[in-house]
Symmetry: C2
Subunit: 238 residues, 2 copies
């Protein structure tokens, strides 16, 4: 019956970004210490208001750069979901579009505009987060775990060339499980388009010995077929 949005209090739209990387074999997320109210001084996911005439994706990339002072261009960026519970922001009605980003390990970011500090932090040892950001982060981690199964996006956590062992460490860090090195090796090379050999090898063996490893780049596959499934999780099925 002629519902007119201008008759109602305004709604704000924000983006929040779950930016993940692997550091020291652990899954890390980028968090910022808020420099403004509300939740001033609390840790939160980087994010902020979408500007007029700005695409949602662009806003996510902009906030990632602004709040961290880094020219971060994540190797992968995808939409995660929308979070719009009426009370999630004490200021006003805020609907947030969450994004999920993967990137290779980067130097520690500096604080940016609205953030007092920005750091990479292991996801299994986090301080409390502002708003509903813990829920968003959990959704992002679960999405990441699932994406590694059926897409080649694990390579987005790595530099341009990498070894199969480095790729395995990504899977082990994100899934939190140890994988059998030999079987993983054969499996990765058998999936068409997952990785492509460069003909090169590492210049040295591992720090504690071992032969030089062949170097690979990401292949052209968009999906892994057959998929690389996580070790069975009976409990999670029902």
């Amino acid at each position: 019956m002629g519902y007119n949005p201008r008759d109602y209090p305004p709604v704000a739209v924000t983006v929040d970004v779950v930016a993940l990387t692997i550091r020291d074999r652990r899954l890390n997320v980028l968090i910022v210490e808020r420099g403004v109210q509300p939740y001033l001084g609390h840790w939160a996911l980087p994010g902020g208001f979408v500007r007029p005439d700005e695409n949602l994706d662009d806003a996510a990339v902009r906030e990632l750069g602004e709040e961290t002072g880094l020219g971060i261009r994540p190797a992968h960026l995808e939409q995660l979901g929308s979070y719009g519970t009426p009370e999630r922001d004490p200021r006003m009605r805020v609907v947030s579009i969450a994004y999920l980003a993967f990137g290779p390990d980067l130097p520690d970011p500096m604080a940016g505009s609205d953030a007092a500090e920005a750091v990479w932090h292991p996801v299994d040892d986090l301080p409390p987060l502002a708003f509903d950001h813990e829920r968003i982060l959990n959704d992002g981690i679960e999405r990441a775990r699932s994406k590694l199964e059926y897409t080649p996006l694990a390579t987005a956590f790595l530099p341009g060339t990498f070894t199969v062992s480095e790729l395995r460490l990504i899977y082990e860090s994100v899934w939190g499980t140890a994988l059998h090195a030999g079987n993983f090796h054969r499996k990765v090379l058998s999936v068409p388009g997952f990785v492509e050999g460069t003909g090169e090898t590492t210049q040295t063996g591992g720090p504690k010995g071992g032969p030089r490893a062949k170097l690979y780049t990401a292949g052209d596959a968009k999906l892994l077929h057959p998929a690389l499934l996580r070790p069975s999780r009976e409990e999670e099925i029902r």
Copy 2:
């Protein structure tokens, strides 16, 4: 830099729903003929503005009911994604949260508040849709196809009890491919928690002959393990 959203023109948040069902062995989507500007008289997905203090999920359910005059409670409802291109609505900046709904075949809906008419329509034979609703619909269909692979949600298209053949018809309709009846049968029964036998059978055989079929209800599995994968789509992998 104290960006304040109140300094800028307002943003509106809407929900749009891709409601799918199977009719006569074809995948159908619920569309409405718009009774208001813009796109008056055009076909569109049901949807509308989110109200203050209303959850996004609740808004999706409400719009589904309001615009169709049906007390539709979809058997499954999930968030599909957000669509926020600045020019997608000529009136103002509108960010839409799209939802995906599955339900069993229902009688033809009546028109509701903002819609001149509401109908189920086969997805492969649609009139042009308003806004960016064709893109949203395509994303929804692809999501539905994928969901059938690794979740038991095909049962959401069926009434409380059903036969394995009816379940197979859901897969065939959504995927658009013929499946081998015998192998499908064995596969479905072998996945733990997918379906549960009731001990009953249909009262008659098929309209053109055949024995009575056993009746099943949806099981308690949340994920299919092992998954029921679509016949290989080599082209879609790269």
